[in-house]
Assembly symmetry: C2
Homo-oligomer: 246 residues x 2
Amino acid sequence: MASPPGWRSGRPSPHISALKDIALFKGLSEDALQEVLACGQTERLAKGALAFRQGAPAETCHSLVHGRVKIAQTRPDGGQFVIRFIGSGEMFGSVAALMGQPFPADATAVVDSIQFVWPIHVMRRLMMRHPDIAIRATTELGARVQELQSRMAEMGATRVEQRIARGLVRLVRQAGRRTEVGIEIDFPITRQDLAEMTGATLHTVSRTLAAWEADGLIDSSRRRITVRRPHGLVVIAEDLPGARDD
Amino acid sequence: MASPPGWRSGRPSPHISALKDIALFKGLSEDALQEVLACGQTERLAKGALAFRQGAPAETCHSLVHGRVKIAQTRPDGGQFVIRFIGSGEMFGSVAALMGQPFPADATAVVDSIQFVWPIHVMRRLMMRHPDIAIRATTELGARVQELQSRMAEMGATRVEQRIARGLVRLVRQAGRRTEVGIEIDFPITRQDLAEMTGATLHTVSRTLAAWEADGLIDSSRRRITVRRPHGLVVIAEDLPGARDD
DNA sequence: CGGGCAATTGAAGTAGATCAAGCCCAGTGG
DNA sequence: CCACTGGGCTTGATCTACTTCAATTGCCCG
Protein backbone atom coordinates (compact mmCIF):
# COMPACT_ATOMS: atom_id res chain seq x y z
CA MET A 1 0.00 0.00 0.00
CA ALA A 2 3.05 2.27 0.11
CA SER A 3 2.87 4.94 -2.53
CA PRO A 4 6.28 6.19 -3.60
CA PRO A 5 6.58 9.58 -5.17
CA GLY A 6 5.75 9.40 -8.81
CA TRP A 7 2.64 7.29 -8.21
CA ARG A 8 0.79 9.44 -10.64
CA SER A 9 1.85 11.03 -13.89
CA GLY A 10 2.68 14.72 -13.78
CA ARG A 11 5.55 16.96 -12.90
CA PRO A 12 6.84 17.11 -9.34
CA SER A 13 5.53 19.81 -7.04
CA PRO A 14 6.78 23.31 -7.58
CA HIS A 15 6.85 24.79 -4.15
CA ILE A 16 5.74 24.40 -0.60
CA SER A 17 4.11 27.83 -0.59
CA ALA A 18 1.11 26.52 -2.51
CA LEU A 19 0.21 24.27 0.42
CA LYS A 20 0.37 27.07 2.93
CA ASP A 21 -2.70 28.64 1.39
CA ILE A 22 -4.78 25.63 2.31
CA ALA A 23 -6.71 26.31 5.50
CA LEU A 24 -6.32 22.75 6.67
CA PHE A 25 -2.54 23.02 6.70
CA LYS A 26 -2.29 26.37 8.47
CA GLY A 27 0.28 26.20 11.21
CA LEU A 28 1.63 22.85 10.16
CA SER A 29 5.33 22.13 10.58
CA GLU A 30 7.67 22.30 7.60
CA ASP A 31 8.34 18.60 7.96
CA ALA A 32 4.71 17.66 7.70
CA LEU A 33 4.14 19.95 4.74
CA GLN A 34 7.15 18.37 3.09
CA GLU A 35 5.56 14.96 3.60
CA VAL A 36 2.40 15.97 1.76
CA LEU A 37 4.38 17.70 -0.91
CA ALA A 38 6.59 14.70 -1.53
CA CYS A 39 3.64 12.36 -1.99
CA GLY A 40 1.60 14.62 -4.24
CA GLN A 41 1.64 16.01 -7.73
CA THR A 42 0.84 19.30 -9.36
CA GLU A 43 -1.31 18.82 -12.42
CA ARG A 44 -2.59 21.03 -15.18
CA LEU A 45 -6.29 20.91 -15.87
CA ALA A 46 -7.18 22.35 -19.22
CA LYS A 47 -10.54 24.11 -19.43
CA GLY A 48 -13.21 21.43 -19.64
CA ALA A 49 -11.00 18.67 -18.21
CA LEU A 50 -12.21 16.57 -15.29
CA ALA A 51 -10.26 16.35 -12.04
CA PHE A 52 -12.42 13.37 -11.16
CA ARG A 53 -15.59 11.71 -12.30
CA GLN A 54 -18.77 10.94 -10.39
CA GLY A 55 -18.82 7.33 -9.25
CA ALA A 56 -15.06 6.78 -9.48
CA PRO A 57 -13.36 5.43 -6.34
CA ALA A 58 -12.04 8.36 -4.34
CA GLU A 59 -8.43 7.72 -3.45
CA THR A 60 -7.15 11.25 -3.76
CA CYS A 61 -7.43 14.60 -2.08
CA HIS A 62 -7.42 17.64 -4.32
CA SER A 63 -6.62 21.24 -3.76
CA LEU A 64 -6.93 23.97 -6.34
CA VAL A 65 -3.75 25.98 -6.79
CA HIS A 66 -5.10 28.20 -9.52
CA GLY A 67 -8.23 28.48 -11.63
CA ARG A 68 -11.83 27.45 -11.04
CA VAL A 69 -13.49 24.03 -10.82
CA LYS A 70 -17.18 23.19 -10.97
CA ILE A 71 -18.52 20.39 -8.77
CA ALA A 72 -21.70 19.02 -10.35
CA GLN A 73 -23.83 15.99 -9.65
CA THR A 74 -25.76 14.08 -12.28
CA ARG A 75 -29.10 13.00 -10.85
CA PRO A 76 -30.65 9.62 -11.65
CA ASP A 77 -33.19 11.37 -13.88
CA GLY A 78 -30.35 12.78 -15.94
CA GLY A 79 -30.53 16.32 -14.62
CA GLN A 80 -27.40 18.09 -13.45
CA PHE A 81 -27.03 19.89 -10.16
CA VAL A 82 -24.18 22.29 -9.44
CA ILE A 83 -23.06 21.79 -5.86
CA ARG A 84 -20.38 24.45 -5.73
CA PHE A 85 -17.53 26.19 -7.46
CA ILE A 86 -14.01 25.75 -6.11
CA GLY A 87 -11.57 28.66 -5.96
CA SER A 88 -7.82 28.61 -5.39
CA GLY A 89 -6.72 27.35 -1.98
CA GLU A 90 -9.86 25.27 -1.54
CA MET A 91 -9.84 21.52 -1.16
CA PHE A 92 -12.26 19.27 -3.01
CA GLY A 93 -13.01 15.59 -3.28
CA SER A 94 -11.65 15.10 0.22
CA VAL A 95 -14.86 14.19 1.98
CA ALA A 96 -15.52 11.25 -0.30
CA ALA A 97 -11.89 10.16 -0.03
CA LEU A 98 -11.92 10.33 3.74
CA MET A 99 -15.13 8.33 3.86
CA GLY A 100 -13.85 5.71 1.47
CA GLN A 101 -16.75 6.32 -0.87
CA PRO A 102 -16.88 7.02 -4.58
CA PHE A 103 -16.84 10.64 -5.69
CA PRO A 104 -20.42 11.90 -5.54
CA ALA A 105 -19.97 14.37 -8.39
CA ASP A 106 -17.91 15.40 -11.39
CA ALA A 107 -15.20 18.03 -10.97
CA THR A 108 -14.72 20.02 -14.16
CA ALA A 109 -12.30 22.86 -14.75
CA VAL A 110 -14.25 25.86 -16.05
CA VAL A 111 -11.03 27.69 -16.92
CA ASP A 112 -7.47 26.45 -17.35
CA SER A 113 -6.49 25.42 -13.83
CA ILE A 114 -3.78 23.87 -11.73
CA GLN A 115 -4.53 21.40 -8.99
CA PHE A 116 -2.46 19.66 -6.39
CA VAL A 117 -3.32 16.01 -5.84
CA TRP A 118 -2.20 13.64 -3.13
CA PRO A 119 -3.25 10.19 -1.95
CA ILE A 120 -5.77 9.97 0.84
CA HIS A 121 -3.67 7.72 3.04
CA VAL A 122 -1.16 10.52 3.50
CA MET A 123 -4.00 12.64 4.80
CA ARG A 124 -5.05 9.87 7.16
CA ARG A 125 -1.54 9.37 8.49
CA LEU A 126 -1.14 13.09 8.97
CA MET A 127 -4.37 13.32 10.93
CA MET A 128 -3.32 10.46 13.15
CA ARG A 129 -0.04 12.14 13.94
CA HIS A 130 -1.31 15.70 14.25
CA PRO A 131 -4.63 15.96 16.05
CA ASP A 132 -4.87 19.65 15.24
CA ILE A 133 -5.25 18.80 11.56
CA ALA A 134 -8.15 16.52 12.35
CA ILE A 135 -9.67 19.20 14.55
CA ARG A 136 -9.21 21.80 11.87
CA ALA A 137 -10.91 19.38 9.51
CA THR A 138 -13.93 19.11 11.81
CA THR A 139 -14.12 22.89 11.79
CA GLU A 140 -14.00 23.01 8.00
CA LEU A 141 -16.60 20.31 7.71
CA GLY A 142 -18.75 21.92 10.39
CA ALA A 143 -18.79 25.09 8.34
CA ARG A 144 -19.81 23.08 5.28
CA VAL A 145 -22.61 21.42 7.22
CA GLN A 146 -23.95 24.73 8.41
CA GLU A 147 -23.73 26.29 4.99
CA LEU A 148 -25.49 23.34 3.40
CA GLN A 149 -28.19 23.41 6.03
CA SER A 150 -29.02 27.03 5.47
CA ARG A 151 -28.83 26.59 1.72
CA MET A 152 -31.25 23.70 2.01
CA ALA A 153 -33.65 25.70 4.11
CA GLU A 154 -33.61 28.28 1.33
CA MET A 155 -34.20 25.79 -1.44
CA GLY A 156 -37.31 24.47 0.14
CA ALA A 157 -39.30 27.57 0.49
CA THR A 158 -38.21 30.58 -1.48
CA ARG A 159 -39.42 31.58 -4.88
CA VAL A 160 -37.15 31.13 -7.84
CA GLU A 161 -36.16 34.76 -8.26
CA GLN A 162 -34.89 34.76 -4.67
CA ARG A 163 -32.94 31.56 -5.18
CA ILE A 164 -31.24 32.98 -8.24
CA ALA A 165 -30.43 36.17 -6.35
CA ARG A 166 -28.90 34.16 -3.51
CA GLY A 167 -26.90 32.06 -5.88
CA LEU A 168 -25.52 35.17 -7.49
CA VAL A 169 -24.78 36.79 -4.14
CA ARG A 170 -22.87 33.70 -3.12
CA LEU A 171 -20.86 33.81 -6.33
CA VAL A 172 -20.11 37.48 -5.83
CA ARG A 173 -18.74 36.82 -2.35
CA GLN A 174 -16.71 33.88 -3.51
CA ALA A 175 -15.50 34.99 -6.89
CA GLY A 176 -16.23 38.68 -7.17
CA ARG A 177 -13.70 40.98 -8.79
CA ARG A 178 -14.00 44.77 -8.52
CA THR A 179 -14.34 46.65 -11.79
CA GLU A 180 -15.29 50.22 -12.65
CA VAL A 181 -18.99 49.47 -13.03
CA GLY A 182 -19.42 46.95 -10.21
CA ILE A 183 -18.38 43.48 -9.18
CA GLU A 184 -17.81 40.85 -11.82
CA ILE A 185 -17.93 37.09 -11.38
CA ASP A 186 -14.35 36.27 -12.23
CA PHE A 187 -15.00 33.15 -14.27
CA PRO A 188 -17.25 32.28 -17.21
CA ILE A 189 -20.66 31.12 -16.03
CA THR A 190 -23.65 30.24 -18.17
CA ARG A 191 -27.33 30.74 -17.40
CA GLN A 192 -27.50 26.98 -17.50
CA ASP A 193 -25.02 26.79 -14.61
CA LEU A 194 -27.03 29.28 -12.62
CA ALA A 195 -30.17 27.27 -13.35
CA GLU A 196 -28.49 24.09 -12.14
CA MET A 197 -27.33 25.79 -8.96
CA THR A 198 -30.79 26.99 -8.07
CA GLY A 199 -33.09 24.33 -9.39
CA ALA A 200 -34.68 26.60 -11.96
CA THR A 201 -34.79 26.29 -15.73
CA LEU A 202 -32.44 27.96 -18.13
CA HIS A 203 -35.36 29.98 -19.45
CA THR A 204 -36.44 31.40 -16.13
CA VAL A 205 -32.87 32.40 -15.33
CA SER A 206 -32.55 34.13 -18.68
CA ARG A 207 -35.77 36.06 -18.17
CA THR A 208 -34.86 36.97 -14.60
CA LEU A 209 -31.41 38.25 -15.51
CA ALA A 210 -32.90 40.20 -18.40
CA ALA A 211 -35.31 41.87 -15.99
CA TRP A 212 -32.51 42.70 -13.57
CA GLU A 213 -30.45 44.10 -16.38
CA ALA A 214 -33.34 46.32 -17.42
CA ASP A 215 -33.46 47.57 -13.82
CA GLY A 216 -29.75 48.40 -13.99
CA LEU A 217 -29.03 45.85 -11.28
CA ILE A 218 -26.57 43.86 -13.32
CA ASP A 219 -24.69 43.80 -16.60
CA SER A 220 -24.35 40.59 -18.48
CA SER A 221 -23.12 39.15 -21.68
CA ARG A 222 -22.31 35.69 -22.90
CA ARG A 223 -20.83 33.77 -19.93
CA ARG A 224 -20.13 36.96 -18.04
CA ILE A 225 -22.05 38.63 -15.22
CA THR A 226 -21.28 41.91 -13.48
CA VAL A 227 -23.31 43.05 -10.51
CA ARG A 228 -23.71 46.81 -10.54
CA ARG A 229 -25.69 47.18 -7.32
CA PRO A 230 -24.95 44.26 -4.97
CA HIS A 231 -27.23 45.67 -2.35
CA GLY A 232 -30.18 45.61 -4.69
CA LEU A 233 -29.52 41.94 -5.23
CA VAL A 234 -29.42 41.28 -1.51
CA VAL A 235 -32.75 43.06 -1.15
CA ILE A 236 -34.27 40.54 -3.54
CA ALA A 237 -32.41 37.62 -2.01
CA GLU A 238 -33.62 38.37 1.50
CA ASP A 239 -37.01 39.61 0.41
CA LEU A 240 -36.46 42.84 2.29
CA PRO A 241 -39.20 45.44 2.21
CA GLY A 242 -36.91 48.13 0.75
CA ALA A 243 -37.54 49.73 -2.63
CA ARG A 244 -35.42 48.37 -5.43
CA ASP A 245 -32.93 51.17 -5.70
CA ASP A 246 -29.78 51.33 -3.66
CA MET B 1 -13.50 29.03 32.35
CA ALA B 2 -13.32 25.85 34.41
CA SER B 3 -16.68 24.13 34.73
CA PRO B 4 -16.95 21.95 37.80
CA PRO B 5 -19.44 19.13 37.92
CA GLY B 6 -22.82 20.48 38.81
CA TRP B 7 -22.46 23.40 36.43
CA ARG B 8 -26.01 22.80 35.31
CA SER B 9 -29.10 21.82 37.21
CA GLY B 10 -30.24 18.21 36.90
CA ARG B 11 -29.52 14.89 38.44
CA PRO B 12 -26.09 13.27 38.06
CA SER B 13 -25.52 10.82 35.26
CA PRO B 14 -26.99 7.37 35.64
CA HIS B 15 -24.60 5.15 33.84
CA ILE B 16 -21.72 4.98 31.47
CA SER B 17 -23.54 2.59 29.17
CA ALA B 18 -25.59 5.43 27.68
CA LEU B 19 -22.43 6.97 26.27
CA LYS B 20 -21.31 3.79 24.64
CA ASP B 21 -24.17 4.01 22.18
CA ILE B 22 -22.79 7.23 20.79
CA ALA B 23 -20.86 6.54 17.60
CA LEU B 24 -18.30 9.20 18.39
CA PHE B 25 -17.27 7.48 21.60
CA LYS B 26 -17.01 3.97 20.23
CA GLY B 27 -13.79 2.37 21.37
CA LEU B 28 -12.98 5.09 23.83
CA SER B 29 -11.22 4.16 27.08
CA GLU B 30 -13.20 3.88 30.32
CA ASP B 31 -11.24 6.79 31.73
CA ALA B 32 -12.13 9.10 28.90
CA LEU B 33 -15.79 8.10 29.04
CA GLN B 34 -15.72 8.76 32.77
CA GLU B 35 -14.39 12.23 32.06
CA VAL B 36 -17.32 13.10 29.80
CA LEU B 37 -19.75 11.51 32.18
CA ALA B 38 -18.43 13.44 35.16
CA CYS B 39 -18.80 16.78 33.40
CA GLY B 40 -22.25 16.19 31.99
CA GLN B 41 -25.84 15.88 33.09
CA THR B 42 -28.79 13.72 32.23
CA GLU B 43 -31.91 15.80 31.75
CA ARG B 44 -35.58 15.09 31.21
CA LEU B 45 -37.23 16.82 28.30
CA ALA B 46 -41.00 16.82 28.54
CA LYS B 47 -42.87 16.64 25.24
CA GLY B 48 -42.77 20.09 23.71
CA ALA B 49 -39.78 21.27 25.75
CA LEU B 50 -36.75 22.81 24.05
CA ALA B 51 -33.25 21.38 24.43
CA PHE B 52 -31.94 24.61 22.97
CA ARG B 53 -33.22 27.61 21.13
CA GLN B 54 -32.18 29.03 17.77
CA GLY B 55 -29.77 31.92 18.20
CA ALA B 56 -28.66 30.99 21.72
CA PRO B 57 -24.90 30.68 22.24
CA ALA B 58 -23.91 27.05 21.81
CA GLU B 59 -21.79 25.97 24.72
CA THR B 60 -23.10 22.44 25.06
CA CYS B 61 -23.05 19.14 23.22
CA HIS B 62 -26.21 17.07 23.37
CA SER B 63 -26.91 13.43 22.89
CA LEU B 64 -30.32 11.84 22.99
CA VAL B 65 -30.56 8.94 25.41
CA HIS B 66 -34.21 8.24 24.78
CA GLY B 67 -37.09 9.79 22.85
CA ARG B 68 -37.24 11.96 19.75
CA VAL B 69 -36.18 15.56 19.11
CA LYS B 70 -37.06 17.79 16.17
CA ILE B 71 -34.44 20.20 14.84
CA ALA B 72 -36.20 23.06 13.07
CA GLN B 73 -35.04 26.39 11.73
CA THR B 74 -37.14 29.53 11.62
CA ARG B 75 -36.47 31.41 8.42
CA PRO B 76 -36.30 35.21 8.29
CA ASP B 77 -39.66 35.24 6.53
CA GLY B 78 -41.19 33.44 9.49
CA GLY B 79 -41.47 30.03 7.85
CA GLN B 80 -40.24 26.94 9.63
CA PHE B 81 -37.96 24.35 8.12
CA VAL B 82 -37.43 20.92 9.69
CA ILE B 83 -33.78 19.98 9.30
CA ARG B 84 -33.94 16.53 10.88
CA PHE B 85 -35.28 14.34 13.64
CA ILE B 86 -32.91 13.00 16.26
CA GLY B 87 -33.20 9.43 17.55
CA SER B 88 -31.59 7.86 20.59
CA GLY B 89 -27.81 7.62 20.45
CA GLU B 90 -27.51 10.56 18.09
CA MET B 91 -25.70 13.76 18.93
CA PHE B 92 -27.13 17.18 18.19
CA GLY B 93 -26.12 20.78 18.61
CA SER B 94 -22.48 19.77 18.46
CA VAL B 95 -21.53 21.35 15.18
CA ALA B 96 -22.55 24.82 16.33
CA ALA B 97 -20.82 24.27 19.66
CA LEU B 98 -17.61 23.13 18.02
CA MET B 99 -17.66 26.12 15.71
CA GLY B 100 -18.34 28.58 18.52
CA GLN B 101 -21.48 29.78 16.79
CA PRO B 102 -25.03 30.20 18.03
CA PHE B 103 -27.40 27.28 17.59
CA PRO B 104 -28.83 27.55 14.08
CA ALA B 105 -32.16 25.94 15.00
CA ASP B 106 -34.57 25.03 17.76
CA ALA B 107 -34.45 21.55 19.26
CA THR B 108 -37.86 20.46 20.49
CA ALA B 109 -38.80 17.15 22.10
CA VAL B 110 -41.69 15.63 20.14
CA VAL B 111 -42.23 12.99 22.82
CA ASP B 112 -41.07 12.80 26.44
CA SER B 113 -37.31 12.39 26.11
CA ILE B 114 -34.05 12.13 28.00
CA GLN B 115 -30.91 13.87 26.84
CA PHE B 116 -27.33 13.90 28.02
CA VAL B 117 -25.65 17.30 28.00
CA TRP B 118 -22.03 18.21 28.48
CA PRO B 119 -19.95 21.34 27.96
CA ILE B 120 -18.18 21.78 24.67
CA HIS B 121 -14.75 22.35 26.18
CA VAL B 122 -14.71 18.75 27.39
CA MET B 123 -15.25 17.68 23.82
CA ARG B 124 -12.42 19.91 22.66
CA ARG B 125 -10.02 18.63 25.28
CA LEU B 126 -10.95 15.06 24.44
CA MET B 127 -10.26 15.62 20.76
CA MET B 128 -6.91 17.17 21.51
CA ARG B 129 -5.89 14.15 23.60
CA HIS B 130 -7.42 11.44 21.40
CA PRO B 131 -6.93 12.06 17.70
CA ASP B 132 -9.15 9.11 16.85
CA ILE B 133 -12.14 10.98 18.28
CA ALA B 134 -11.42 13.93 16.04
CA ILE B 135 -11.01 11.58 13.11
CA ARG B 136 -14.24 9.82 13.95
CA ALA B 137 -15.84 13.24 14.08
CA THR B 138 -14.62 14.05 10.58
CA THR B 139 -16.21 10.80 9.42
CA GLU B 140 -19.51 11.65 11.07
CA LEU B 141 -19.47 15.14 9.64
CA GLY B 142 -18.42 13.86 6.25
CA ALA B 143 -21.47 11.63 6.23
CA ARG B 144 -23.63 14.60 7.15
CA VAL B 145 -22.11 16.67 4.35
CA GLN B 146 -22.79 13.94 1.82
CA GLU B 147 -26.33 13.42 3.02
CA LEU B 148 -27.06 17.12 2.94
CA GLN B 149 -25.60 17.44 -0.53
CA SER B 150 -27.75 14.74 -1.98
CA ARG B 151 -30.79 16.04 -0.13
CA MET B 152 -30.11 19.44 -1.59
CA ALA B 153 -29.77 18.09 -5.08
CA GLU B 154 -33.21 16.55 -4.57
CA MET B 155 -34.80 19.72 -3.28
CA GLY B 156 -33.76 21.68 -6.29
CA ALA B 157 -35.20 19.60 -8.97
CA THR B 158 -37.79 17.03 -8.04
CA ARG B 159 -41.50 17.56 -7.95
CA VAL B 160 -43.24 17.83 -4.62
CA GLU B 161 -44.74 14.34 -4.58
CA GLN B 162 -41.24 12.89 -4.93
CA ARG B 163 -39.87 15.07 -2.17
CA ILE B 164 -42.61 13.95 0.18
CA ALA B 165 -41.96 10.33 -0.73
CA ARG B 166 -38.26 10.75 -0.02
CA GLY B 167 -38.96 12.44 3.26
CA LEU B 168 -41.15 9.55 4.30
CA VAL B 169 -38.63 6.97 3.14
CA ARG B 170 -35.98 8.69 5.21
CA LEU B 171 -38.26 8.64 8.24
CA VAL B 172 -39.04 4.97 7.71
CA ARG B 173 -35.34 4.09 7.67
CA GLN B 174 -34.62 6.19 10.70
CA ALA B 175 -37.66 5.63 12.85
CA GLY B 176 -39.56 2.74 11.33
CA ARG B 177 -41.14 0.14 13.58
CA ARG B 178 -42.49 -3.12 12.20
CA THR B 179 -46.19 -3.79 12.72
CA GLU B 180 -48.60 -6.34 11.28
CA VAL B 181 -49.69 -4.12 8.42
CA GLY B 182 -46.39 -2.49 7.57
CA ILE B 183 -43.84 -0.10 8.99
CA GLU B 184 -44.95 2.66 11.29
CA ILE B 185 -43.13 5.92 11.99
CA ASP B 186 -42.52 5.47 15.69
CA PHE B 187 -43.26 9.02 16.80
CA PRO B 188 -46.13 11.43 16.27
CA ILE B 189 -45.65 13.48 13.13
CA THR B 190 -48.04 15.99 11.62
CA ARG B 191 -48.61 16.80 7.96
CA GLN B 192 -47.30 20.22 8.85
CA ASP B 193 -43.97 18.65 9.89
CA LEU B 194 -43.78 16.72 6.65
CA ALA B 195 -44.55 19.91 4.75
CA GLU B 196 -41.77 21.75 6.57
CA MET B 197 -39.31 18.95 5.82
CA THR B 198 -40.00 19.02 2.11
CA GLY B 199 -40.79 22.62 1.37
CA ALA B 200 -44.38 21.92 0.44
CA THR B 201 -47.59 23.23 1.96
CA LEU B 202 -49.68 21.45 4.52
CA HIS B 203 -52.46 21.19 1.94
CA THR B 204 -50.40 19.48 -0.71
CA VAL B 205 -49.05 17.00 1.81
CA SER B 206 -52.56 16.21 2.97
CA ARG B 207 -53.80 15.63 -0.56
CA THR B 208 -50.78 13.54 -1.45
CA LEU B 209 -51.07 11.31 1.59
CA ALA B 210 -54.80 10.92 0.91
CA ALA B 211 -54.03 9.76 -2.62
CA TRP B 212 -51.44 7.29 -1.36
CA GLU B 213 -53.85 6.00 1.22
CA ALA B 214 -56.44 5.45 -1.50
CA ASP B 215 -53.82 3.45 -3.39
CA GLY B 216 -53.22 1.30 -0.31
CA LEU B 217 -49.65 2.54 -0.11
CA ILE B 218 -49.95 3.88 3.41
CA ASP B 219 -52.27 4.06 6.41
CA SER B 220 -52.54 7.24 8.33
CA SER B 221 -54.43 8.88 11.09
CA ARG B 222 -53.90 11.91 13.22
CA ARG B 223 -50.14 12.26 13.86
CA ARG B 224 -49.52 8.67 12.84
CA ILE B 225 -48.28 7.20 9.56
CA THR B 226 -47.81 3.54 8.63
CA VAL B 227 -46.24 2.57 5.34
CA ARG B 228 -47.85 -0.58 3.98
CA ARG B 229 -45.73 -0.98 0.87
CA PRO B 230 -42.34 0.67 1.32
CA HIS B 231 -41.26 -0.37 -2.13
CA GLY B 232 -44.14 1.46 -3.73
CA LEU B 233 -42.99 4.58 -1.94
CA VAL B 234 -39.45 4.14 -3.20
CA VAL B 235 -40.79 3.82 -6.73
CA ILE B 236 -42.34 7.26 -6.40
CA ALA B 237 -39.31 8.69 -4.61
CA GLU B 238 -36.90 7.58 -7.30
CA ASP B 239 -39.32 8.11 -10.15
CA LEU B 240 -38.76 4.56 -11.33
CA PRO B 241 -40.61 3.36 -14.42
CA GLY B 242 -42.32 0.48 -12.56
CA ALA B 243 -46.08 0.29 -12.17
CA ARG B 244 -47.36 1.34 -8.80
CA ASP B 245 -48.00 -2.03 -7.27
CA ASP B 246 -45.36 -3.96 -5.39
C1' DC C 1 -17.19 32.40 -42.90
C1' DG C 2 -19.99 29.01 -41.11
C1' DG C 3 -21.26 25.80 -37.46
C1' DG C 4 -22.65 25.40 -32.95
C1' DC C 5 -23.23 26.79 -28.37
C1' DA C 6 -25.40 30.44 -25.59
C1' DA C 7 -29.02 33.30 -25.05
C1' DT C 8 -33.64 35.46 -25.98
C1' DT C 9 -38.44 35.54 -26.40
C1' DG C 10 -43.28 34.18 -27.20
C1' DA C 11 -47.22 31.15 -26.31
C1' DA C 12 -49.50 27.50 -23.87
C1' DG C 13 -50.00 24.25 -20.14
C1' DT C 14 -49.82 22.83 -15.31
C1' DA C 15 -48.23 21.78 -10.64
C1' DG C 16 -48.79 23.47 -6.63
C1' DA C 17 -49.77 27.70 -3.72
C1' DT C 18 -53.31 30.29 -1.84
C1' DC C 19 -57.86 31.23 -0.17
C1' DA C 20 -61.78 29.55 2.22
C1' DA C 21 -64.84 26.46 4.69
C1' DG C 22 -65.88 22.74 7.35
C1' DC C 23 -65.04 18.33 9.90
C1' DC C 24 -63.15 15.09 13.20
C1' DC C 25 -61.43 13.77 17.36
C1' DA C 26 -58.77 14.19 21.94
C1' DG C 27 -58.57 16.42 25.76
C1' DT C 28 -60.48 19.52 29.49
C1' DG C 29 -63.25 21.07 32.67
C1' DG C 30 -67.68 21.88 34.37
C1' DC D 1 -70.74 12.22 31.45
C1' DC D 2 -71.32 15.53 28.06
C1' DA D 3 -70.51 19.94 26.05
C1' DC D 4 -66.88 22.69 24.56
C1' DT D 5 -62.66 23.89 22.48
C1' DG D 6 -59.00 23.89 19.56
C1' DG D 7 -55.46 21.55 17.00
C1' DG D 8 -55.00 18.60 13.17
C1' DC D 9 -56.87 17.31 8.93
C1' DT D 10 -59.68 17.41 4.59
C1' DT D 11 -61.47 19.24 0.52
C1' DG D 12 -63.10 22.43 -3.10
C1' DA D 13 -62.20 26.57 -6.08
C1' DT D 14 -59.23 29.82 -7.92
C1' DC D 15 -54.94 31.80 -9.18
C1' DT D 16 -50.26 32.21 -10.80
C1' DA D 17 -45.32 31.46 -11.06
C1' DC D 18 -42.81 28.50 -13.39
C1' DT D 19 -42.12 24.89 -16.71
C1' DT D 20 -42.45 23.21 -21.29
C1' DC D 21 -42.44 23.64 -26.09
C1' DA D 22 -40.89 26.00 -30.03
C1' DA D 23 -38.47 29.13 -32.78
C1' DT D 24 -35.09 32.69 -33.65
C1' DT D 25 -31.04 35.41 -32.97
C1' DG D 26 -26.43 36.43 -32.08
C1' DC D 27 -21.69 35.55 -30.74
C1' DC D 28 -17.31 33.34 -30.80
C1' DC D 29 -13.81 30.10 -32.23
C1' DG D 30 -11.95 27.41 -35.27
